[in-house]
């Protein structure tokens, strides 16, 4: 492995382990005002009247009439309101109550009476007529493939909501003083917030600063949502006479009012000719929730990934994201990928079973290769290491031996093993980097030879403070202690794009490395020097045309193979996980421990999504809204995960690194669901698939056995 991969102590290790790190909730609260958001109790309608209780001195209420700029949270589209009088989901923010005593603010909030005119909401995306976005892929000659098919196999798949459960809830503090607005808190993308606060407050760019506090986990959940919260606290701060206004969510509010992973409904038709798949027609539907937020880009990734790691010559994919009157669904690690990769992995197994062939070999025979065309007529430009990775994982997990061993089980406990092969397109979809993000980074050298990294990217736990420093220290050949990197403040750092899409090391890290090359060239001892580096699109890419959805959607891909073993207690339906294996190719790990930590953490989130995590709303209302009922894995719910790295270096990434953060959340769920269906001897078409579902299967199997007798 490249020497840069050798692990070092993380830069933020000490302050986090000794408790001195300051998260947004840790700022002294003397002199602060506390805000609580009044949220809609109905899923759709208009607010007729808000009757406030009598508020003592020092307490006030803000709503849309207090928004001096646009009452819009600027994102990709601007349909999310800062405050609304036309709520579109239960929990939509109507206003904010602010005051000096947090307990009293809570009490007054409960006393507010809201009158609504209710309208009929839509909760089921399949019944929604409101299409936010739609994309079509048409590759090869699908019509002929289907016309000439021996048979057509059709299956549908569903996935559910997932909540991020970053351990630190969302929180933000805003202060407006002497004409300057300072906002700081828990976030992934300071410049998203900056643009949103400009748009909502109408203040000048230069009068607004956004600063990231130490952030307790993001996973996508602090990509889009903090923009909304920042606008709300900023609007409240405008009326606070110079005092800071703080909103830190209780867990219940965080679960019931912030973004989730999009539920999905995928239908696949496969044309079969001579035992081979010759074409596919796919419908990918995402439930966007009430506002568009990130749905456009999530849908792009779901659409172009719908055929997974398989080379299917003729495909038609229709992707659409529809509005429902539920919490807006936004970014979540994997970003539309996990949904379709679950579907395609299940589909390939189900087709193999129909064709009476062994699923893993069947899948392997369709793996894409270097030089093959992608679903969007781009090219897999670099080697595809899947076959080797698959062999590694099959052997690590003892897959075939176990498959044999687990045949004909009839005791109380039944075991199963499943395997999945997946990719994650590294970085932004399409021309996002070139046309939208246009990242800039800066290096600032002081006279004493210390070099400060200036980027807008954030560390939310994934280790960026450490990895970017390693890249710069290595390229400049100076000690890491001479490289300075702190959490970003928009007053000081350029916009180097959001910390999302597994792009930070691959894109921003590479920009920094190139900046280092310039700095090295110009280096003069004892002088202050600054170099700036702008994004440059790789030359080899086939330009992506978002209109017709053609071209290279990604410059390169990360790859993963996962295997999971389960044991099912047939008396209780309980699914336990005695083994989990993974091989991940995310290019050169900039720090081996950090990358392994990302892989293990994402893997477990993916397993949780598969068999545990459930917050399906009933009539638009989230029922499982506390940590005691939205169940995430504990340390006793998983065994030692066996994770290995395969390194296929990406020449355009720093020292060969590719996108890493999201990769592990793609393949865990299909692998565990395959294991469950193998243990039970059935086909499964949805997740989460939990103990109750297992019992339903066992009950019907028992009933069928009785009938046979």
């Amino acid at each position: 492995m490249n020497p840069i991969s050798n692990s070092v102590t993380k830069r933020d290790h000490s302050i986090k382990i000794n408790g001195s790190a300051v998260y947004v909730c840790d700022y002294p609260t003397e002199g602060m005002l506390f805000g609580r958001i009044l949220r809609s109790g109905i899923a759709k309608g208009t607010v007729k009247n808000v009757k406030l209780p009598e508020l003592p001195q020092g307490y006030y209420y803000v709503d849309k009439t207090d928004v001096p700029g646009f009452n819009e949270v600027h994102m990709i589209q601007d349909d999310t309101p800062v405050f609304t009088d036309n709520p579109q989901f239960i929990g939509d923010p109507v206003g904010m109550l602010v005051g000096v005593d947090e307990l009293l603010v809570n009490e007054f909030l409960l006393k507010i009476e809201v009158e609504y005119d209710e309208e009929t909401p839509v909760f089921d995306a399949r019944l929604s007529e409101d299409v936010f976005f739609a994309y079509d892929i048409d590759k090869g000659d699908t019509d002929s493939a289907f016309a000439n098919a021996d048979r057509i196999i059709e299956y549908s798949y569903e996935t559910g909501l997932q909540e991020h459960i970053y351990l630190e809830t969302n929180g933000m503090i805003a202060q407006y003083k002497d004409g300057k607005m300072n906002v700081h808190g828990s976030m992934q993308c300071p410049y998203y917030l900056h643009r949103a606060v400009v748009h909502a407050t109408g203040l000048r760019h230069e009068d607004i600063s956004i600063r990231q506090d130490v952030t307790g986990g993001g996973f996508g959940g602090k990509e889009d949502f903090p923009s909304t919260l920042a606008c709300q606290v900023a609007v409240a701060a405008l009326k606070a006479n110079g005092k800071p206004v703080r909103v830190v969510f209780e867990r219940e509010e965080d679960i019931t009012a912030t973004s989730k992973r999009h539920p999905s409904y995928c239908t696949y038709k496969a044309a079969i000719k001579g035992g081979r798949i010759t074409g596919m027609i796919v419908d990918v539907l995402l439930d966007a929730g009430a506002y568009t937020t990130m749905s456009m880009v999530v849908l792009q990734r779901a659409t172009n990934g719908a055929c997974g790691v398989y080379d299917i010559p003729n495909i038609k994919i229709h992707g659409h994201a529809r509005k429902t009157n539920t919490i807006p669904n936004g970014a979540f690690r994997g970003f539309g990928g996990p949904q379709v990769f679950f579907a395609i992995e299940m589909l390939m197994t189900h087709i193999a079973k129909e064709l009476d062939t062994e699923p893993v070999k069947f899948k392997k025979s369709y793996f894409v290769n270097q030089g093959d065309s992608t679903s969007t007529d781009g090219v897999y430009h670099f080697p595809v290491p899947l076959p080797v990775m698959l062999d590694d994982v099959l052997s690590d997990s003892g897959y075939y031996e176990k498959l044999e061993l687990f045949k004909n089980q009839n005791g109380r406990f039944r075991r199963g093993i499943g395997v999945s092969a997946v990719f994650h397109g590294a970085g932004f979809t399409g021309n996002g980097e070139r046309d939208v993000i246009k990242a800039t980074v800066r290096l600032s050298k002081s006279a004493d030879g210390k070099v400060e990294i200036l980027t807008g990217n954030t560390d939310m736990g994934q280790g960026l403070l450490t990895t970017l420093v390693k890249i710069v220290a290595k390229e400049l050949d100076i000690p890491p202690d001479d490289v300075i990197l702190t959490l970003p403040d928009t007053r000081r750092v350029p916009d180097s794009g959001p910390t999302v899409a597994s792009r930070s090391v691959m894109i921003v890290g590479e920009l920094l490395r190139r900046a280092c090359l310039s700095l090295k060239n110009e280096w003069i001892d004892g002088e202050e020097q600054t170099v700036e580096q702008h994004y440059r699109h790789p030359d080899f890419l086939i330009p992506f045309d978002a209109e017709v959805f053609k071209g290279d959607a990604y410059p390169t891909y990360s790859w993963a193979v996962n295997a999971v073993e389960v044991e099912i207690d047939t008396l209780t339906g309980y699914i336990s996980i005695p083994g989990a294996w993974g091989s991940f190719d995310v290019g050169t790990p900039i720090d081996e421990n950090i990358v392994i930590g990302q892989m293990e953490g994402g893997f477990l989130q993916s397993l949780g999504w598969g068999i545990m995590e459930n917050c399906a709303p009933r009539n638009g209302k989230i029922g499982n809204k506390l940590l005691c009922d939205y169940i995430v894995p504990t340390s006793l719910d998983v065994t030692d995960m066996n994770v290995r790295l395969y390194v296929e270096e990406y020449p355009e990434g720093p020292f060969g690194a590719k996108g890493a953060g999201e990769m592990p959340h793609v393949g865990g769920a299909p692998a565990i669901i395959e294991a469950v269906q193998n243990a039970l001897g059935i086909n499964i078409y949805r997740l989460p698939f939990m103990a109750e579902d297992v019992m339903d299967v066992l009950r019907s199997q028992k009933a069928a056995e009785k009938e046979v007798r």
């Binding site: 302050i15 351990l167 939310m460 293990e600 006793l636 998983v638 339903d696």
Partner: protein, 442 residues
């Protein structure tokens, strides 16, 4: 005037005179500015706020200040100057076990409690010790490794100093140490008895209640044995019950599966009964063993079968002036038992269905047969009239009435609709009951 509550925080004497109902977590963060202790849920379900009280891991969100009379409280700020912290610090760093960091102070507290107890913990020991500390970043692998690495170095380090307040802490009007004083306070209807706090402190309004604290009443903290019964003081924690040699295996097993270490260290047997919940795991064992409750008031005392204590959902026979002082569990006939708790995960799980069975077989004849089903109805199901069908029979004779017996239960068990499906819970009950019979050769 508020009572004075004296305790030790990070080796410093504290005299606290504010409201005794305030959460320790809030006091640490807001008033002491000890913000290393994090808040992740305020329901004891994440462990981010865990601190060490009297050497035990406790979630500070579920602790009211009044329960701290005479206690020693250690937070990450006090712990981080110790040698054992240094060992953990290095070990966590060596595997990059710290990601977002929000769970880490609590995780370190849990690590310390484990290492104080065991020099060479197994992987399962480690996973159990941190099972109440949710980490969403790491998948736990690195943390488990870090603790294992630290355990190799730990022998050579000195555990943190744990001095106790040296005067006797008897705040009669708030946290008495004698039962007499506790019962006097109990007459005051406005006060809610507070034992472990793990249940009442979950409520959002908990800090507005008025409590009196019975966690230091010595008569309620002992586990003793007389000729007929094992007598459990109602204020004994689950952890104390697990570690006491007098405790029968069936109760140990149930207590071990309650929530996670920090909850087991605080939650008490009496509280588990008094909350009137059909999901209470220790209560299920008291039901199946036909245990008795010793209920005492300032001028009365009575013994009540635990079965008669439950009147409905959350409703009990406890009189306004009574306390559960002891739980009397029969000493004999509990060895051949069956216990299964079904939750949504392996730790921090609330029972979705639970089952306990006892079959006392002597010379081939069933001397006693008792079953109980938890989390099915408003009250734990205990139906001796059905269980009687097997008593006095040989195994062979029991086999003959097995289907009749099962049918009787099939009719009797009608789960109350809840978040988890009715059919699912019913199936589990019947499956486990059948397995209980199977395991006894019936």
């Amino acid at each position: 005037m508020q009572s004075l509550i004296k305790f030790i925080l990070n080796n410093e004497n504290i005299i606290y005179s504010e409201s005794p109902s305030v959460r320790l977590l809030d006091w640490l963060r807001d008033s002491q500015k000890l913000t290393g202790t994090k808040c992740g849920c305020k329901e004891g379900e994440c462990g981010a706020c865990a601190v060490i009280i009297n050497g035990k891991l406790i979630n500070s969100c579920l602790v009211a200040m009044g329960s701290l009379c005479g206690a020693n409280v250690l937070t990450i700020e006090g712990y981080s100057s110790t040698a054992r912290f240094a060992a953990l610090d290095m070990a966590y760093a060596s595997v990059s076990a710290v990601q977002c960091g929000f769970c880490i102070p609590g995780m370190i507290m849990a690590s310390e409690c484990l290492l104080a107890e065991k020099n060479y913990p197994t992987e399962n020991d480690i996973r159990t010790a941190i099972s109440g500390n949710i980490c969403r970043c790491t998948g736990y692998n690195a943390i488990v490794k870090a603790i294992a690495i630290a355990s190799d170095a730990v022998e050579y380090t000195v555990p943190p100093i744990r001095k106790r307040w040296d005067e006797v802490m008897d705040v009669k009007e708030l946290a008495p140490t004698s039962l007499y004083d506790a019962l006097e306070l109990r007459k005051n209807k406005a006060l809610i008895p507070y034992s472990g706090g793990t249940d009442i402190m979950v409520s959002g309004l908990c800090s507005q209640n008025s409590y009196f604290f019975i966690n230091n009443v010595s008569e309620m903290r002992q586990i003793i044995s007389d000729d007929k019964y094992i007598r459990f003081g109602a204020a004994c924690s689950f952890t104390e019950s697990i570690s006491n040699p007098l405790t029968p295996a069936i109760l140990k097993e149930a207590c071990k599966q309650i929530a996670a270490p920090a909850i087991r260290n605080a939650g008490t047997l009496g509280g588990n009964i008094a909350n009137g919940s059909a999901k209470a795991d220790a209560a299920l064992i008291f039901m199946v063993t036909d245990s008795l409750l010793r209920l005492v008031s300032a001028n009365n005392e009575r013994i009540l079968p635990v079965k008669d204590f439950y009147l409905g959902k959350g409703a009990t026979a406890l009189a306004d002036d009574e306390l559960i002082v002891e739980i009397l569990m029969p000493k004999h006939g509990l060895d051949n038992y069956y216990y299964k708790k079904v939750g949504a995960r392996n730790a921090l799980a609330i029972s979705r269905t639970s089952f306990a069975g006892i079959m006392d077989i002597e010379n081939g004849v069933i001397k006693n047969n008792a079953t109980a089903f938890g989390a099915v109805k408003d009250i734990i199901i205990r139906l001796p009239e059905i269980d009687k069908k097997l008593i006095g029979k040989t195994i062979e004779e029991a086999k003959a009435v097995k289907e009749v017996y099962l049918e009787a239960y099939d009719e009797a068990i009608i789960p109350r609709p809840g978040r988890v499906g009715v059919e699912y819970r019913k199936d589990i009950c019947m499956n486990l009951l059948r397995d209980f019979l199977d395991s006894n050769g019936i």
